[in-house]
């Protein structure tokens, strides 16, 4: 019911009360109705103003959510770029460490020993063997230390993979935020319908207020970032055909 209609009721009730001046019971009843309508009249105004204000704030909140998603995306991209660079460095380092372990010299030593035992005992071949042998010994000189570095490289690679894996949070929260944006849009639609009922305004299409680059994605409302493995275990049971124990 619109505010103007309520004001009209107040006006009419006043007229009825005056017309029924001599009948106390009827006059008391009309007076109650009049009091009630007068009481809710300002509330309708406040409700209308509150709905209008909330409805104005919702699109602003939607834009802020878009910025949050964009910031998450940019930060994730930067972290992934950094992890890529670290991984590339570590792969190079790992190769160097592996070479230091001396294994790289083994095929060379083997070939030279074959040459010499085959009769090729010239000074150049012997000198080359000596150099390869020293390189091999150099690699083996501090095996504990080199092996330690190798283990560190592997640990860094493993940590980098874990950082990447954790960045799935960006995709999952983007879907959750897109879901919240849809909910906000539907609340705003409801508020606009109410305003239309109260005020009689033509309903304006505000879909574009909620249409943002990072929020307009095909999302899953059930997406969640959990450390638990329950959902995966349920999927595994179903995939194995173990429907009896798969739960809901």
């Amino acid at each position: 019911m619109r505010k103007e209609e309520l004001e009209e009721i107040v006006k009419r009730a006043d007229q009825v009360a005056q017309a029924l001046g001599g009948q106390p019971e009827t006059r008391e009843f009309v007076s109650h109705v009049l009091g009630f309508v007068k009481h809710i009249l300002p509330m309708v105004g406040e409700l209308q103003a509150s709905i209008a204000l909330t409805s104005e704030k919702l699109p602003t909140a939607s834009r802020q959510l878009d910025k949050v998603t964009e910031a998450n995306f940019l930060a994730s991209t930067e972290i992934l770029d950094t992890v890529d660079r670290i991984l590339n460095q570590v792969v190079g380092l790992q190769q160097w460490v592996d070479a230091q372990l001396g294994d790289a010299n083994v095929p060379r030593l083997d070939a030279l020993v074959r040459k010499i035992t085959g009769g090729q005992t010239d000074a150049g071949t012997v000198a080359e063997l000596e150099e390869a042998w020293r390189a091999f010994l150099g690699g083996r000189a501090t095996p504990g230390s080199v092996e330690e570095q190798s283990a560190r490289c592997q640990q860094i690679q493993s940590d980098c993979t874990n950082i990447m894996i954790a960045l799935q949070v960006q995709d999952i929260t983007a879907q959750q935020i897109a879901g919240v944006n849809k909910l906000m849009q539907s609340v705003d639609d409801g508020l606009h319908d109410l305003l239309h009922q109260i005020h009689g305004d033509e309903r304006d299409g505000r879909n574009n207020e909620y249409s943002h680059h990072h929020l307009d994605i095909v999302h899953d409302a059930t997406a969640e970032y959990t450390g638990g493995a329950e959902r995966q275990e349920m999927a595994d049971r179903l995939m194995r055909g173990d429907t009896e124990t798969s739960g809901s």
């Binding site: 991984l87 994605i217 995966q232």
Partner: protein, 130 residues
């Protein structure tokens, strides 16, 4: 034996990078990518692939529709398909099974989880082939 060629399909650039890098970290370097089902169809038709890793929720054509298309299209019909998705309800898994995905991972996944699923599929495919 040459490393199998993976096609990774996801509308999220972050997720594509994560899946591709994880595949590389477990020894699969031969990877191409697509942003949705239609893009994946085009990639399959133009350059082929041996293994499909696909998201479910995507614009244009989702992972379920892509799987149906793959299963109905030679020479891809027997291709191993791993679905990697946030959809972790029982009904979702059953729907994916109906279109004959080979395995199903609920995001967020771990590197070991992805490796295990790929190994399982590879093993099952090898067993069928032999």
């Amino acid at each position: 034996m040459a490393s199998p060629k993976f096609l990774v399909v996801d509308d999220s650039l972050t997720m594509r990078r994560i899946v591709i890098n994880t595949l590389k970290s477990i020894g699969y370097d031969n990877v191409v990518e697509a942003g949705d089902g239609k893009d994946a169809m085009a990639k399959l038709l133009s350059e082929g692939a041996d293994f499909l890793v696909t998201d479910w929720n995507m614009p244009e054509m989702n992972g379920l529709e892509l799987t149906k298309w793959v299963r109905a299209t030679e020479p891809f019909a027997g291709m191993p398909i791993l679905m990697v998705t946030t959809r972790g309800n029982k009904d979702d898994v059953i729907e994916a099974m109906k279109v004959r995905v080979n395995n199903y991972i609920v995001k967020p996944f771990t590197a070991q989880g992805l490796k295990d699923k790929i190994d399982q599929i590879m093993k099952a495919t090898d067993t069928k082939a032999s």
